[in-house]
């Protein structure tokens, strides 16, 4: 889960890292201001600077104008949570520092560069290694800065911590000018500060896509495989929706109703039940179909209690396809017929 810059900076400050003086502004007009200042849109998408999400103000008039602009302006389609106005810092030198998770080594990895700034990807002067390795190679002034970051990275359950740039001012002080933090979703139970920004309040995994065919399955792999099969047949998935293992009637109905609320008229459901009981899913489908006769469902239920599920569906004239290929074929025939009828 991505964390807004202004929240990340509060944490840096708590751990004794210098950040610029700032005000966070949620509504216009602001109660307080800072001049001269850097005004930054609080969005979670990357490339904010290049998309015009950062403006400057040297006087009150500019401050108000640019704050208002940024509060209203979506960045790459994302509306800002607010804006952060910060004092301008006199910069002598910029550094780059980050900590990430290295999947292959299955450990933390620290990255440091003497050349901070937005083009870090192109810098050849990058050092990567374990925390200890990096601590031993950084300039003297980072020897007290780095342990604070290490503490934040571990104590806040971060999967990414990036400060780009760390600015050194004319008197040699280090200040974090930007801050990117990702918190591990699995650790939110012990990170209550991050929890209040969670958008996802479903009891399943849902990702919206731009197509029109709804997808529901149990297990991330099977849902992705189903999406791919729909795409392969020439159609476009509307979403990724994984009801997980052992879904009950309520979860299943919530999933179906969510897609209905997104105005999805055709949904493909692919369940291979291990922990999930197919008869429970079949009964949920019946209950949903009863009220939503206009929504077309393509169902494939197999695995635990599939016989019971088969009987329930058959009694109610709902076809249970034997595998994914057969179901996608039926979807294809149905959609081609629909196009034909509309001609």
């Amino acid at each position: 889960m991505k964390i807004h810059e202004f929240v990340g900076k509060k944490i840096l400050k708590e751990y004794g890292i210098n950040v610029p003086e700032s005000v966070f502004i949620k509504n216009f007009p602001p109660e307080k201001g800072i001049i001269p200042s850097v005004i930054k849109s609080q969005v979670l998408v990357g490339g904010r600077m290049k998309s015009g999400g950062v403006l400057f103000a040297d006087n009150g008039e500019e401050f108000l104008r640019n704050t208002e602009i940024l509060l209203k302006k979506p960045i790459k389609g994302e509306f800002p949570y607010g804006v952060l106005a910060e004092e301008k810092i006199k910069i002598n030198h910029e550094y780059y520092i980050s900590a990430v998770l290295n999947r292959e080594k299955r450990s933390e990895e620290w990255i440091f560069s003497e050349e901070g700034g937005i083009e870090i990807e192109n810098s050849e002067n990058i050092k990567k290694g374990s925390y200890e390795e990096i601590l031993n190679t950084v300039p003297e002034k980072f020897r007290t800065f780095l342990p604070k970051l290490k503490k934040i990275f571990n104590e806040k359950d971060l999967t990414l911590l990036e400060i780009n740039p760390v600015a050194e001012d004319t008197s040699g002080n280090l200040t974090a000018l930007d801050c990117v933090m990702h918190v591990d979703d699995n650790a939110l139970f012990r990170q209550p500060w991050a929890k209040k920004f969670t958008e996802d309040d479903h009891d399943f995994h849902y990702v919206e896509l731009d197509g029109n065919i709804g997808i529901i399955g149990c297990g991330a792999g099977i849902v992705m495989a189903t999406m791919d099969a729909v795409k392969n047949a020439g159609y476009s998935p509307a979403n990724f929706l994984d009801i997980g293992g052992g879904a009950d009637k309520e979860t299943t109905l919530n999933a179906l109703n969510l897609l209905k609320s997104k105005n999805i008229k055709i949904t493909v459901m692919n369940i291979f039940g291990g922990i999930t009981k197919c008869d429970v899913i079949a009964n949920s489908i019946l209950e949903f179909k009863e009220i939503n006769k206009d929504i077309k469902l393509f169902i494939r239920l197999t695995g635990t209690n599939e016989e019971e599920a088969g009987i329930i569906l058959e009694k109610n004239n709902i076809k249970n396809y034997k595998d994914l290929d057969e179901m996608i074929n039926a979807l294809d025939i149905f959609l081609k017929k629909e196009v034909h009828n509309n001609d």
């Binding site: 650790a187 991330a220 992705m224 293992g245 291979f272 291990g274 695995g303 994914l324």
Partner: protein
Amino acid sequence: MTEGNEKVCVQGITGKYGKFHTEKMLKYGTNIVCGVSKNSSVKEIAGVPVLNSAEDAVKIYKADTSVVFVPARFAKDAVTEAIYAGIKKIIIITEHIPIHDMIEIYSLSKEKNVKIIGPNCPGIIIPSVLKIGIMPEKAFKPGDIAIISKSGTLMYEVANQLSVNSSGIKIAIGLGGDPVTGTNVSEAFDYIIKKGIKKTVLIGEPGGNEEIKGIKHAIDKGYDGKIKTFFAGKTAPEGKTMGHAGAIVEGREGSIAYKESYLKSMGIDVSEKISDLVF
């Protein structure tokens, strides 16, 4: 990975899933010697004695393997306890374990020479011999193919396909869908090479580059069997987690398009559909 003769202890045996799957594993023939639970009011589950600590499981019942159903927030403590007790193989079924906990678990397991499989995985199965996990056994008929998978339900789907339309399963190894797993694709191949299994199906996902690394590793080690791969997640957009914490495309190398074209250029068989996975 497994020799088929493990003495298994179930950690978290008194929970809903722990109890249900203990019964199913017993029925399958797995040698479950005991369970461990912090709930001391239960003394027995399905005829299996329930103990208070992993230490007792090793001392009294000579357990050498544990399968973990303990809830995520307590999983690190449970696994750490098992490692210090002297358990040598730990299969973690639990999902949603914090990544920092897994980093600690992994580093301790290396230090103590303990093999970890998972977390967030379906476990391992040698059809007709043993099952340490939660997979629906009906989908796994005995045969000569090894399956390596990060996904659980997709592994069932593929196993079913290989059982019905091909030569059946020798072993299926569920690695788990998290970014940090105790066993990765390369290590799974080490086992397959050691066991002389000549047919392997690898089921991949978006994110990371383990599949390519693992296959390269197998070839470097002289693996001369056939490898077939299937990837789910071609339609996964960049920067969105697709259910599994590990299934997120960050940069070009994590995308399925990149993985598939790279493997094809190596001459590896990449299947478009699950039904194409036939030896």
